[in-house]
Amino acid sequence: MNLPVGERLFGSFFDEVDGVVAVPARVSLAEIQREVAPRGWRFPLVLDREAPLADQVSASAFAPASSRFGPYCDNLTGMNWELPDGRRVRMGERVVKSTTGFDLHRFLLGTGDRYGRPTDFVLRLRPLGDAGTVWSLRGKSASLEEVARKLLHSSYLPWLESLDWIGDRQSVEPWLRLAVHCPKEELEMFGAWVQDMARPEGIHVEATPGDGSVSDGLPDAVLKTSPNYVLSLARRLTHGTGFRWVGLCACAAIHLYLPPELRDPTQIQALLEPLQEMLWEQGGDWSSRHVSSTVVLAEEASWLAVLRKEWGLAA
């Protein structure tokens, strides 16, 4: 057997049996959905329907539907990557499971543009249901947090496409967003369950039928914490700043949305650096698509110097 010589880059393909598709990194989710939906598939991780997929992946590791399907890196099985000098390499696989060498695929996905950029992604698709609903739960902050905590420990958790705590200056009180995407015949059951859960806490529920998908746009910054702190931290930040914060409860990630005039690296750093020690202590972090420079520890700088040398990249 003769295996191909040279870089084994991903070409264009759509494997309807495995539910994997290769797409250019600059296509939007809307374009992807148009391609795959007629064949009964969807890609559920959506931050912004119209933004290029590459921008979404670099803006945050998580989207609301990560509650159910995990971060982007677990839903992109592979990619073609262009190094800064133009060399193209393949990372990851076209199959959905692999332990073959070092996981440079997941490593690079979190590195912004420091070592190049993705040019194509292989997406793991999910079956397209025919119905969905988004529920807004409003009530006292303490009651909403109690419901969110119960949901995090419920066996319904793996079926929720959104379990998000939302606070902003437009709302008097924060609210909780739940969503499901499922076969039509299951909607009634999910609806009854949400009502059963909300009623004892005195929470008002409003249902919006549709396909159950939600998107808030590309976040300006992301904080990664643990589920112990996500609710209290999101509440504290909303009250302290008045900005829009979306806490993805199951992922323990908090997205910050700023008015355009405040999307300034210096201001973002000033806002988030005071939280950094607390986040680091839990093994968390913060990042912003507007802030490219971060302090690198001396030891890490020495690792990165080796990596850059070995990869033939400029220091």
Binding site: V17, G101, P127, S155, G283
Partner: protein
């Protein structure tokens, strides 16, 4: 080797008095192999540190003495991972067995690397939480080995593999310094890059893991298990393809080929299955109201695809009975054959018929009995070759079939390993997977932390040889 084993052992006894140090041939023999039993490598010494602090001192000293270092948990790897392929020392992590914390509110736990999956499962049972990865060696395998090989299991089609659950790890670097990557929050911590991504699945080549922060999930309220028999491969494939895109989103879709079914039926563990049929085991789980509603649709799907018999149950004892043939299969291999090799690869599911045809033809020509099981949801194929390494030619035949199969799998767009890792079993095939540029990037990773390949040499890449 460039080092004196006796001098190193003597020095370690002085500096690490609580560590157990094994040098006698009879003691070392227990570390000759992992689950890939026919390939043996005798270590020069084995050190069993009492705790992480002592382990750091041991690693530092071995590094300075220029001794190849191999980390080992329970040794259940099936790819020749935790063996001293270039001699030197094995550091055995069996005494780092503390479950330090289970944070039920935060849905995470902190465990030492020598904790077994079974131990963690028992500790989590009363909390209403569970840790999803479930390799078949779960009774004895350690979390250290699981993280090193990015282990999977039957239920990872929906739940994912180990890398989906590691929030953070503590690592002893080659120089003995202890570093933490991530933590309960699962982020990068103070580092610019997310180094834990490279550590997971690195097969002991980047550092010595001491403890982990792992993500936990709420236990499902109810589980339904389905066992379906199929008269041929095409009806089995129809069922697998339909299940993969079914909204019930099964947690497990397990396949046994007729050779595997017959092996069970010819043993004292027979359960009365038709010997010439394919078997599918399917599990769905979740809230009782939801899975009870979905169960009839799954049964109908299996029948509609051509199953001749579908049994299902949500009762735990009955479910165990339905799963019995699959459970028995793994244990039987070692009972009916002097040696066996469990291969591991992931294929695009459309290639299943082609791969099985190739496998059966090769096995028949070579006269090597082969039984195949598969985590069918994600295309993770496990052909098991039964042979006798004492019989001239058997090893060559088995390795020849493995090699040709892997070549075919790579050509079809598959992966060399889904959950066992590369070890030394498949290290020679790695250049097939990556082009020259990607291979260069891959090989550079271990040089960041271990420029001389002192940690677990000759693993992942065949030329990762320690040069003292």
């Amino acid at each position: 080797m460039g080092f004196s084993c006796g001098a190193v052992a003597q020095s370690l006894r002085r500096s690490s008095p609580r560590a157990r140090i094994l040098e006698a041939p009879a003691q070392l023999a227990g570390y000759d192999a992992d689950g890939l039993g026919y390939k043996t490598f005798r270590p020069d010494l084995v050190i069993i540190p009492a705790d992480a602090e002592e382990m750091a001192a041991v690693v530092r000293q071995l590094h300075q003495a220029r001794v190849p270092i191999t980390l080992r948990g329970a040794g259940t790897s099936l790819a020749g991972g935790p063996v001293a392929a270039q001699g030197g020392a094995i550091v055995h992590t069996s005494r780092l067995r503390a479950i330090r914390r289970i944070d039920t509110a935060g849905l995470w736990c902190e465990v030492e690397c020598g904790v077994t999956l079974q131990q963690l499962e028992e500790a989590l049972a009363p909390t209403g939480l569970f840790y999803p990865p479930d390799p078949s060696s779960g009774l004895v395998c350690t979390l250290g080995g699981n993280v090193a090989s990015n282990a999977g299991g039957a239920h990872c089609f929906r739940y994912g593999v180990t890398s989906n659950y590691v929030l953070g790890l503590e690592v002893i670097m080659l120089d003995g310094k202890v570093r933490r990557f991530g933590g309960p929050a699962g982020g990068r911590g103070p580092w610019q890059e997310d180094w834990k991504r490279l550590m997971i699945g690195s097969e002991g080549t980047l550092g010595a893991f001491t403890r982990f922060w792992l993500r936990l999930m709420p236990q499902p309220e109810k589980v339904w298990t389905f066992r379906a028999m199929f008269p041929d491969l095409s009806s089995t494939e129809r069922a697998i393809h339909a299940l993969v895109r079914h909204p019930s989103f099964p947690v497990a879709i397990e396949m046994m080929d007729p050779h595997a079914v017959a092996m069970v039926e010819d043993s004292p563990l027979a359960v009365g299955l038709p010997r010439d049929h394919f078997l599918l085991l399917v599990e769905i789980d979740g809230p009782a109201r939801l899975v009870d509603q979905r169960a009839p649709a799954v049964a109908a799907l299996l029948r509609g695809a051509g199953s001749t018999e579908v049994l299902s149950s949500a009762d735990s004892q009955e479910r165990a009975r339905l799963f019995k043939a699959r459970k028995a299969q793994g244990g039987l291999l070692g009972q009916i054959s002097p040696d066996f090799l469990v291969q591991d690869a992931v294929i695009p599911k459309q290639a299943l018929a082609e791969m099985l045809r190739f496998l059966y033809s090769e096995a028949e020509t070579a006269g090597i009995p082969t039984v195949t099981v598969m985590h069918a949801g994600d295309g993770n194929l496990h052909p098991n070759f039964l042979f006798d390494s004492r019989r001239p030619g058997d090893v060559e035949k088995v390795e020849g079939i493995s090699k040709r199969l892997m070549e075919k799998i790579v050509a079809a767009g598959g992966a060399l390993s889904g959950e066992h890792g590369i070890g030394n079993d498949k290290a020679a095939y790695m250049p097939w997977v990556f082009g020259p540029q990607t291979l260069r990037l891959q090989k550079s990773v271990s040089r960041i932390f271990d420029p001389r390949n002192q940690l677990n040499p000759l693993k992942i890449f065949a030329d990762r040889r320690f040069a003292a």
